[in-house]
């Protein structure tokens, strides 16, 4: 007997499904329930729309927010664990600043939008700079991109991130707030576990 045979799934299940985070065995149980429950199909549509709207709105609000300089973020001292004597705290700050060199880092919240399309032949154009948060817009011409996820993979095959994409104005969009170090990456669109398109992403040094 499936988990959702006698009852409807909770909102959290619908949300996790709409974000591509529901895994087996809950995924199977939920999909079987969806096959026969009209009401949960409607609920899932609402949850999917809410998630997509929230993601897009959060992106817009984040882009429009005033950029706080790296120094001001450090001065807020939110990262200090618990209370520390003032001098010890100052020493920690000084050592961290000397190690971190914030004058070299991109300010938090500083985004770059990068348009990616598949290309044939020739070296890929440089598309991004290290240190910037990335807003990637992928050309999905000729592709049914509904339900796809995107993976960013480094040149040595290490998975950097795996995230659902949002379809906005005919492009698949994803955001990578952590930015990337300089180097060659691949962005793969996946559907039902299969790669349906791959893009080259070169990140240059600043």
């Amino acid at each position: 007997m499936t988990k959702f045979k006698k009852t409807h799934p909770e909102e959290e299940i619908l949300e996790r499904f709409s974000m591509g985070r529901l895994v087996e065995p809950e995924l199977g149980e939920f999909e079987e329930h969806l096959l026969i429950c009209d009401r949960c199909q409607e609920r899932l549509d609402e949850a999917t729309e809410f998630t997509a709207l929230m993601r897009e709105a959060a992106g817009k609000v984040a882009e429009e927010a005033p950029v706080e300089s790296a120094w001001r973020q450090w001065l807020r001292l939110d990262w200090l664990p618990g209370r520390m004597p003032a001098l010890a705290g100052a020493m920690v700050i000084l050592m961290a600043v000397l190690a971190w060199q914030p004058w070299r880092a991109a300010a938090p919240g500083e985004w770059r939008t990068v348009e990616l399309a598949t290309m044939r032949g020739g070296p890929p154009p440089l598309a991004a700079l290290e240190g910037y948060a990335l807003h990637l817009r992928l050309d999905v011409t000729g592709l049914d991109a509904a339900g796809t996820t995107a993976q960013i993979v480094s040149a040595n095959g290490a998975l950097v991130t795996d995230t659902p994409v949002a379809l906005v104005e005919g492009k698949a969009e994803l955001r990578h707030a952590a930015g990337l170090e300089a180097g060659q990456y691949w962005v793969r669109l996946k559907k039902a576990g299969k790669t349906v398109r791959e893009y080259s992403l070169a990140v240059a040094r600043r």
Partner: protein, 223 residues
């Protein structure tokens, strides 16, 4: 549709039964047996039970194109398997239908990838469906986006950061709770409040004077 309060009244946990078609699990075996015996009514019942769900699933995975053919293909496979006696566990009929649909989706995607590999130039007469939304849907979506931005701009910076981490940066709940000093209940409550705020702001817009845009919003909400 999106202007109702998130449906906490929808039965979850131990409440209203979720078997809308009245085909209880123990009846799957009977249905399968009837199909194997060639009962046309049983085949019709299979379609009416699963047809809408299969169509919904395919539409979500593949878009709206060629759905009728895919639905038809799904039931051909299911019926064929039942009639050949290949469904070893008849009471797992739902799971079998799900498996067939998923395989059909995967096969379709494989075919698309293969076609793309073989296609050398988009200018070779390739036609694509125009996926632009119609103006009314476009207006509706824009309004909902404005409402959602207003929700985010009117909450505290901390709450906004939590929601942004979850929905935009897709950090998991555990990481957010750990780094932001929240427990699970606080996290869920924050999301629930955001959804309720969204519904509330949407209702307020509905109450505003008649404009063509508000009429679109009302129409969408079924008002």
């Amino acid at each position: 549709m999106m202007l109702t309060i998130p449906d906490e009244t929808i039965p979850s946990g131990n409440s209203e039964p979720a078997d809308p078609e009245g085909v209880a699990e123990k009846e799957w075996a009977g249905l399968v047996e009837s199909i194997r015996a060639g009962d046309q009514d049983a085949m019709t019942k299979l379609y009416t039970t699963f047809g809408r769900g299969v169509r919904y699933y395919l539409s979500r995975q593949l878009g709206a194109q060629e759905i009728d053919d895919k639905v038809h293909d799904t039931f051909l496979v299911v019926l064929g398997a039942i009639q050949r006696g290949e469904l070893r566990e008849p009471d797992r009929l739902m799971g079998f239908v799900r498996t067939v649909v998923r395989r059909l989706v995967a096969t379709h995607i494989d075919r698309l990838v293969e076609e793309r590999r073989e296609r050398t130039d988009l200018e070779d007469g390739f036609q694509m469906a125009d996926e632009r939304v119609d103006p009314e849907r476009d207006t509706l979506r824009r309004q909902k986006m404005e409402i959602m931005q207003e929700v985010l701009q009117t909450i505290s910076r901390r709450d906004r950061e939590i929601l942004t981490r979850f929905y935009l940066y897709e950090q998991c709940q555990e990481q957010i709770c750990r780094e932001m000093g929240l427990n699970d209940t606080q996290f869920r409550l924050l999301k629930s409040r955001a959804k309720q705020r969204f519904a509330e702001l949407g209702r307020r817009r509905l109450e505003k004077p008649n404009t063509s845009e508000n009429n679109i919003l009302r129409k969408s909400a079924g008002a």
